[in-house]
């Protein structure tokens, strides 16, 4: 993760990127933020486009008997387009516990974690086709930390191959590891305002992501079945259960500045994902994932994480705008952490979350999530390894495809808390500008 500690610098960067955004798209939303010469240029461009489209329409009439010639001219325009989007996620709310305690309960990097307002995540996403061989995408994240500083992260920047033979696909760069279902998802697509406890514990506040490459194979079976193998750097604060960052602590062990010496010191990941349509209205995903890599509690210590995920989605034959639907998502995770060169203590942690989202009428979704996380041994005073449960009902209203309002209540049970329980309420608002975001399955 790369942090900018100079708010004015990052603001310049933001405004620069926004200007870029307004030039590269002809979207009219950006018109307020643009200076006059740009506006003139845009008007000229718009006029040109108008004439062009009129000419095209006339051409089309001429070509009506020979439609294929029209198709050729327009295809090339489409594939060169860039998809640019900016989404903002804000939260407000409060809890029965103070900010310091709350920071432990809401351990996700984008979770609301203070009484009052939180800017959870502003994400600038740029994606498109590079050439005949590659697609590429970059996601830049801006957020305000509790100190009020603007933090910028290069969340992801990766390429992905377009047409390798045999159902193979390679992805490389900085990207979210394909482990389970939720790790790869960006905060604005989550069904809840915060990250599941077990994911925060194993993968840190920002999810498991690093630099590396992976190859995936779409198997030639009748139903969808995909195998993915990856290698990534194990070092950095977004690779929490592995080499992580120097000085961090786990189970009483302080992490050293261990670095990769050879290929055995990298993070290896594997995933198998299968998708089956049980009927026209019911689909299922089953996945199994594993991670193997070194950890920095010793010089030869290793970590292993395994997980299973299950997802069902039901939608009736007649549905308006994708509603009604019921989506049930469950993930189990288990970690085996060898701690300390001398002690070689095996720290075992596990947990799961299960959540149901019910879209009961267009735009309206009711959600319920139950989570449990714990570790073997006495960990009652450790806020990241104690026995912990959370129940979160919520209600989301999508005002359109591009904005939403969400209200969520969290009931926490945690051993490390003096009162053992905490209650929090969060209100979340999201907006998105620019390109149409992909609908998530």
């Amino acid at each position: 993760m790369f942090q900018l500690r100079y708010p004015h610098l990052s603001m310049t960067l933001v405004s620069g990127l926004l200007t870029l955004y307004s030039i590269t798209t002809n979207a009219a939303e950006a018109k307020e933020s643009v200076q006059e010469p740009l506006e003139l240029r845009q008007q000229i461009e718009r006029l040109q486009q108008d004439y062009q489209s009129q000419i095209d329409a006339l051409k089309k009439r001429l070509d009506e008997g020979h439609p294929s010639s029209v198709a050729k001219t327009n295809n090339s325009q489409q594939s060169s387009s860039l998809r640019i989007g900016l989404s903002g996620l804000f939260a407000a709310g409060g809890s029965s516990v103070d900010n310091a305690t709350l920071a432990n309960l809401q351990a996700g990097g984008h979770d609301p974690k203070q009484n009052g307002f939180t800017l959870q995540n502003v994400e600038l996403s740029i994606a498109g086709t590079v050439d005949n061989y590659l697609d590429a995408q970059a996601n830049l994240i801006f957020l305000m930390n509790p100190k009020g500083e603007t933090v910028m992260e290069l969340e992801e920047a990766f390429f992905i191959t377009r047409n390798l033979p045999g159902g193979l696909q390679i992805k490389g760069g900085q990207y979210y590891t394909e482990f389970g279902r939720q790790n790869k998802q960006h905060p604005h697509t989550w069904g809840f305002v915060d990250q599941p406890v077990i994911l925060s514990r194993f993968f840190g506040g920002d999810g498991l992501r690093s630099q590396g490459a992976r190859v995936s194979w779409l198997m030639p079976t009748d139903t969808y079945s995909e195998l993915t193998f990856g290698m990534q750097n194990a070092k950095g604060e977004t690779v929490t259960s592995f080499l992580n960052a120097e000085g961090e602590e786990i189970g009483g062990y302080t992490l050293t500045d261990r670095r990769a010496r050879n290929s055995a010191d990298l993070l290896y990941s594997a995933r198998w994902l299968s998708g089956i349509d049980l009927s026209d209205n019911l689909s299922m995903n089953v996945g199994v994932s594993g991670l193997w890599g070194p950890n920095a509690s010793g010089s030869t210590t290793n970590t292993e994480v395994v997980g299973a995920d299950l997802y069902f989605k039901w939608q009736p034959a007649y549905s308006q705008k994708g509603y009604p639907f019921v989506a049930w998502h469950t993930e189990f995770l288990q970690r085996r952490y060898e701690a300390g060169d001398v002690a070689r203590e095996i720290l075992k942690d596990q947990g799961y979350f299960t959540q149901v989202l019910w879209g009961f009428k267009p735009g309206w979704i009711a959600g319920l999530r139950w989570e449990d996380a714990n570790a073997d041994g006495d960990t009652s005073n450790d806020p990241v390894r104690d026995s912990r449960q959370r129940l979160s009902p919520n209600l989301t209203w999508y005002t359109s495809e591009y904005s939403k309002v969400r209200l969520q209540y969290n009931r926490d049970w945690a051993e490390h808390l003096p009162n053992k329980t905490a209650d929090s309420v969060w209100l979340q608002v999201e907006f998105s500008l620019g390109s149409h975001m992909a609908h998530t399955f």
Partner: protein, 304 residues
């Protein structure tokens, strides 16, 4: 260990030539309308499958894993275009890793480019305008004349991908055109009473149908495309219905019926729930079935 290695190699080699094992062209379509037209043109020489069912609004589909598998095996992908599939097709195409059906390649056919689109927006487009498609209204398959244009375009493309049967595709499309033209005369006669009639639609999806049969869509139940009607917007609509003596509302089967029933109670407005796509109701299996059904539903409506 040795066995699984062999198995892996076997699967790998199978996957490498799996694209060529099927004699018939594999055609995937984003909607059942496209599948029906493609089937009429391709006949027995193609395998057609629609990624979404006709009962659902194709704009709000999601890229399910089973769809990835289907697109991976496709030789030709037919889409409605004009941003209809914008929410799911780009990510589906990326996951499907099939170069044959990527934009710009012969296996990718956007049929919005084969028809004159209505409702293109000149000048700035704002999301404040609702769910508008700047490239034009994408519900163009609801004009039978566009069906002919689409069929012709599909026939040309099928002929390019499968030259061996090109003449047969041409023959099929000629037959399709002839049948459709004869049918159209009958349909127009049956719907004579709707000529120049003001009609209200639920969503902005019947402009092509209106163009084909000569009625006028003067307003929509949705205050802006994609926006759920409110009490205030319905009150305004009721005033207009009474003022201009509008007596017909047409809507797709998948929209909520409450607003329509309310309008009917307040004004006596007749409601015609008409299938917008092949597969929208049982028994609608071909493009001709679709219009037979639409016409049947509209036959007794709006006559006073």
């Amino acid at each position: 260990m040795k066995i699984s290695y062999k198995y892996f190699l076997w699967l790998l080699s199978f996957s490498l030539w799996s694209g060529s094992v099927y004699a018939a062209l594999q055609v995937e379509t984003t909607t059942q309308d496209l599948a029906a037209i493609a089937k009429a043109v391709g006949g027995e020489h193609i395998h057609v499958h629609s990624l979404t069912p006709g009962t659902r609004d194709p704009h709000f589909a999601v890229a399910k894993p089973s769809m990835i598998r289907k697109v991976y095996g496709a030789d030709l992908l037919l889409l409605v275009g004009a941003d209809m599939e914008i929410g799911w097709l780009p990510s589906l195409l990326q996951s499907a890793r099939n170069s044959r059906v990527q934009p710009g390649n012969p296996g990718y056919l956007d049929l919005s480019e084969a028809v004159p689109l209505l409702g293109k927006i000149q000048g700035p487009v704002s999301r404040d305008m609702g769910d508008v498609h700047a490239k034009g209204n994408p519900h163009y398959w609801l004009d039978p004349r566009n069906g002919v244009r689409m069929a012709k375009t599909i026939a040309i493309r099928l002929g390019q991908l499968d030259p061996e049967h090109a003449t047969e595709y041409q023959k099929n499309v000629e037959l399709f055109e002839k049948t459709l033209k004869t049918k159209l005369q009958g349909w127009k006669k049956t719907l004579q009473h709707l000529k120049e009639k003001p009609v209200i639609a639920y969503h902005r999806s019947f402009v092509y149908l209106a163009e084909a049969f000569g009625f006028r869509i003067v307003d929509e139940v949705e205050p802006k495309p994609g926006m759920t009607p409110s009490a205030a917007s319905l009150a305004k609509l009721i005033a207009r219905i009474k003022n201009e003596q509008i007596d017909l509302l047409i809507m797709e089967p998948y929209y909520e019926r409450r607003s329509a029933r309310y309008l009917n109670e307040k004004t006596g407005l007749q409601i015609a729930v008409i299938p917008q796509s092949v597969g929208a109701q049982t028994g609608i299996n071909t493009y001709i079935d679709l219009f037979d059904n639409i016409v049947k539903n509209l036959k007794a409506k709006g006559a006073n």
